[in-house]
């Protein structure tokens, strides 16, 4: 039978377990094992810290998502700035060309696959230059052969034009 050491020492029947102070305090102390100092060992200090920590955990869930999104956007912006286009232009341009890369993947490419990322920025610059929009501070991109496919890509809707 799998009983923990405290349970072996104190064979308290289950109906009384909820009222035994050991169990009530253990509920909090289970969560405080990484706290600093006596808050990790003494119930009267741990109770307050643990309740506050739970509140922080709850509050931080939405905040964490926002912060990671912000970080992601910053990274894309910085990587694009090196190639002379704003981050928004990249995301918008890729969307218009029906290249389905979300911000998470763009961020990963910018960090781990910088040359692929550069080629994406070149593609976006080409798309915009075909429309007559020139991004400021941009070097002329490497020649991208498009054959008009950036403006009218082959998607299921216009397949008949290519058959």
């Amino acid at each position: 039978m799998h009983l923990t050491c405290p349970l072996w020492v104190r064979r308290i029947p289950k109906i009384y377990r909820n009222n035994d102070p050991f169990y009530l305090r253990n509920l909090y102390l289970q969560f405080s094992f990484l706290f600093r100092g006596r808050s990790s060992r003494c119930f009267r200090l741990a109770e307050q810290r643990v309740i506050k920590a739970f509140q922080h955990m709850n509050a931080m869930r939405a905040v964490r998502k926002d912060r990671f999104k912000q970080l992601c956007d910053e990274r894309i912006d910085a990587a694009c700035a090196q190639h002379g286009i704003p981050g928004k232009m990249l995301v918008d341009g890729l969307g218009r060309m029906n290249i389905q890369l979300n911000r998470k993947m763009l961020q990963q490419l910018a960090i781990y696959e910088p040359y692929s990322f550069k080629s994406l920025t070149d593609l976006v610059k080409q798309y915009h230059s075909e429309l007559g929009i020139v991004p400021p501070n941009a070097e002329p991109p490497a020649p991208v052969v498009t054959r008009g496919l950036l403006q009218s890509p082959i998607v299921p809707g216009n397949r008949k034009y290519y058959e």
Binding site: H2, A53, M57, A79, Q108, A110, E113, P114
Partner: protein
């Protein structure tokens, strides 16, 4: 961070990189022969799913423990010594079956929140970005704009000062 530390995805001894060994060693199904909350467990056994699991996984020791007046429980023991319990109280037989196969795929490590759902020791094929990847176009401004000034002048600055003094004296 204080309450539940986050961990990186990992396998014991890089299981699966070259060779894969099933980490589940023993699985025990405790159930009651009479009480209604064990119905799913009983059906699981009677339908032959338990035998099917045992035959498909010869590396796992499968045990049945009928225990009177106890709720049904699935106990899985792993190669790293950890024991995981799954309460299957009033579960349908299909759910019990799924728990069995889930335990078969587990490594026995504690279930902790992950930093990321992916992990790779070689995440980059083209080489991780550095400020020098696309030439020295990033992070190299004119150092005279910097607010950090050394205490003593450099050799170049000393020579420049001397030149200025000399040309002032000459003119």
């Amino acid at each position: 961070r204080q309450m539940l530390p986050r961990v990186f995805l990992s396998q014991p001894l890089q299981n699966g990189v070259s060779r894969y060994t099933c980490q589940l060693k023993r699985i025990t199904l405790k159930f009651c022969k009479f009480r209604p909350n064990s119905l799913g467990a009983r059906e699981f056994i009677e339908n032959g799913d338990f035998l099917e699991f045992a035959r498909a996984n010869p590396q796992v020791a499968c045990y049945l423990k009928p225990r009177r007046n106890r709720p049904p429980v699935l106990q899985a023991e792993f190669a790293n010594g950890s024991v995981q319990l799954a309460r299957i109280d009033s579960f349908p037989a299909e759910f019990v079956r799924r728990w069995f196969w889930l335990m078969r795929g587990r490594s026995g490590d504690d279930l902790l929140p992950l930093h990321e759902n992916l992990r790779s020791f070689h995440p980059s094929v083209q080489g991780v970005w550095t400020p020098f990847t696309f030439g020295r176009s990033v992070g190299l401004g004119d150092l005279s704009d910097s607010r950090h000034r050394p205490m003593s002048p450099s050799a170049t600055e000393l020579i420049q000062q001397l030149h200025r003094l000399q040309s002032a004296r000459m003119s």
